[in-house]
């Protein structure tokens, strides 16, 4: 990642030069393939409906308008209400932030306890938690609906947070367990002798060492929870719907003309926060995934 030019292998001879050009052409094609949908979405969202009807899909907007964005945010019709995505966007924030925070914290605590305070059956418990990562979403819909009903949380935001925390724990525990396995036991033992207990070792030793793992876990959980549609549609009612469900309702609302520009703007708005999280925490993502991470 550093700008050291002496690491770059420079082509020697014509054959290699041709191969090099070919390589960049292929890479360019792949990049275009992935970027094209984004380009179409952005440009369409900035066009007027008139222009969309008359122009082509890939053309740049003749007159740039932010009208569709404003409408998508605060006036588009979601089902029968026409308040835009705004209230549902905030629903998603209210679901994702506590959902990510709680599942990450509990996963960190569980990963630490499973590796550094080994108890009888720790491996079995970890195995069962890991199994949780392989349970398909559909399988838990009905039992979870029943559970939320019994808890009086059906159709509410706290109910959906609970679902995401429970489902996310398998992953967050796995991430933190893999991190904690790489932390030398003698560091924990030294801390015990220094007078630290279960929680002071966790907060003062493990957590500061686990920053890259927190990066990975937050990205993973935020993406999962923010992008979730199935749990959102199954476990919330219209007022508490997350933005993904609302987006579907905006696009699916079929009265009058199909407003592609508003749909595109709404879709980008709904996807923006995950992009933002990648930008902020992304540099930890690769680092945290790549290794048992930090060495002393």
């Amino acid at each position: 990642m550093s700008g050291r030019t002496d690491d770059i292998v420079r082509p020697k001879g014509a054959r290699q030069a041709v191969l090099r050009v070919l390589l960049f052409v292929i890479l360019g094609l792949f990049a275009a393939y992935y970027l094209l949908p984004l380009f179409v979405m952005v440009s369409t969202s900035l066009k007027t409906l008139e222009e969309i009807r008359t122009g082509t899909l890939v053309s740049l907007p003749g007159t740039v308008t932010f009208e569709p964005w404003a409408k998508a945010w605060s006036a588009a019709c979601v089902g029968v209400k026409c308040e835009g995505l705004k209230p549902y966007f905030w629903n998603s924030v209210l679901i994702a932030v506590p959902g990510v925070a709680i599942s990450t914290f509990l996963g960190a605590l569980a990963g630490y306890a499973l590796t550094k305070w080994r108890f009888r059956g720790a491996d079995v418990i970890f195995g069962l938690m890991l199994f949780g990562a392989f349970i398909p979403f559909q399988v838990i819909l009905l039992p979870m609906a029943r559970t939320l009903g019994l808890l009086g949380l059906a159709g509410t935001i706290p109910g959906l947070i609970l679902v995401h925390v429970v489902y996310g724990l398998a992953f967050t525990t796995l991430f933190f367990r893999n991190f904690a396995v790489g932390v030398s036991d003698s560091i924990v033992q030294a801390a015990k002798i220094d007078g630290a207990g279960f929680f002071s070792i966790f907060f003062r030793i493990l957590v500061p060492m686990a920053v890259p793992t927190f990066g990975v876990t937050v990205i993973w959980q935020f993406t999962q929870i923010w992008n979730d549609f199935l749990f959102g549609v199954a476990f919330t009612s219209s007022d508490s719907n997350p933005v993904t469900v609302a987006l579907n309702n905006v696009v699916a609302t079929s009265t009058g003309v199909k407003e592609y520009n508003v749909d595109m703007a709404a879709a980008i708005l709904a996807g923006l926060p995950t992009l933002l999280v990648y930008v902020i925490a992304g540099r930890y993502f690769v680092r945290g995934l790549a290794a048992g991470a930090v060495k002393g």
């Binding site: 033992q189 030294a190 801390a191 015990k192 002798i193 630290a196 207990g197 500061p208 060492m209 002393g296």
Partner: protein, 357 residues
């Protein structure tokens, strides 16, 4: 400062009996080294004293407190680990102060103690660095500083020098020794290196397979090993052994090996005629001689070490190491005549390995 009393301690790991009834009295201020090969239980014993493992049977007391059920933090001990076990996200100063901060000491007291320790260990210029920016020897010193600041009753060292290169090891060894002389805290030190044990210890405790084989002052153990295992383990290069039948004539006694070679030994050994015994002679006690009564053998290998040369000679059918001054010239294949000093021969029962006489 405190004495440490270990009584009938047993430790099992699943089906593995790691410690088989260990009794040990460590006096206040004493420097005791636990030494033995891998798996002998020396580290386990240290970890039991630290409270990092639970005792299955027996008692451990520090001072007059039985600590069996106390957690490590309540035992007032400090431990230096082989891997140093420094907290990677903290600076040197924070590492050293961690215990004091947990104990809720005042800022002023912490600062004073950290700087005193840093001064003693020459860490003053490194206080703001993190462990990753330190060399092995510096990390080792930080680990010692962390142990020192708390004024523990007992210092525990778990192979603290194993990760250092040879030169640094010698230097840190003398630093640990001078630290102990300055502070005088009871210290228990685990190592597999018998030279480390000999140089550091007031008392060496040799362990094998979960039992104490012998304990005593370093030279006592060197001069009078209690059994063949200790004889072989302590001393470098290791002791040479010969097995044969004990024969006594009116003025002389000898061991006759299976190939018929007679090795003269002291007449005073309390061994009955005809008994099969194993005798041991240290390589540094064997000398070359012009005496025709000496043992003759062919040189197999020559290992120069600098001041001395270790020569392996085939004597009485056994490859036997002799330590010679490096000025002595010899070559593989040459025949040497070796003198075995009668009074420096150790005798052991051929079956039990226990010392005779």
């Amino acid at each position: 400062m405190s004495a440490v009393t270990i009584e009938g301690v047993h430790k099992h790991f699943g089906g593995f009996h790691a410690l088989k009834g260990v009794d040990l009295e460590i006096r206040d201020g004493e420097f005791v080294v636990l030494v033995g090969p891998s798996g002998c239980g020396k580290s386990t014993l240290l970890r039991l004293i630290a409270g990092l493992e639970e005792i299955n049977e027996g008692r451990i007391a520090i001072g007059d407190r039985i600590v069996n059920d106390l957690s490590p933090r309540d035992r007032n001990i400090a431990m230096v680990f082989q891997s140093y076990a420094l907290y990677p996200h903290m600076t040197v100063a924070q590492n050293i102060a961690f215990n004091l901060r947990l104990a809720g000491r005042s800022r002023a007291e912490i600062a004073a103690k950290v700087s005193a320790a840093a001064k003693m260990l020459e860490l003053e210029s490194l206080l703001d660095r993190r462990p990753a920016e330190l060399s092995g020897g510096q990390r080792q010193r930080v680990a010692m500083g962390r142990a020192m600041v708390r004024n523990p009753d007992v210092f525990l060292f778990d192979e603290p020098l194993s990760n250092l290169d040879a030169k640094l090891r010698v230097q840190m060894r003398s630093e640990i020794k001078s630290l102990h002389q300055a502070v005088g805290t009871t210290s228990i030190y685990v190592t597999h290196d018998q030279i480390e044990a000999m140089t550091l210890a007031d008392r060496v405790v040799v362990l094998k397979a979960g039992s104490i084989q012998q304990q005593g002052k370093p030279l006592e153990i060197y001069r009078k090993p209690a059994n063949r295992f200790v004889a072989e383990f302590i001393g470098s290069p290791p002791m040479n052994f010969f097995t044969g039948r004990f024969l006594r004539e009116d003025r002389r006694a000898a061991i006759v090996a299976s190939d018929g070679t007679a090795i003269g030994v002291s007449r005073d050994l309390a061994i009955e005629e005809g008994r099969i015994v194993t005798i041991g002679v240290r390589p540094e006690h064997l000398t070359l001689t012009g005496d025709p009564d000496g043992l003759r053998g062919r040189v197999k290998f020559i290992d120069p070490t600098g001041a001395q040369t270790h020569v392996t000679v085939e004597l009485a059918g056994e490859p036997t190491v002799i330590v010679l001054d490096s000025a002595v010239e010899c070559a593989p294949g040459e025949i040497l005549t070796v003198k075995v000093p009668r009074d420096l021969v150790h005798a052991f029962d051929a079956d039990t390995g226990l010392r005779i006489g």
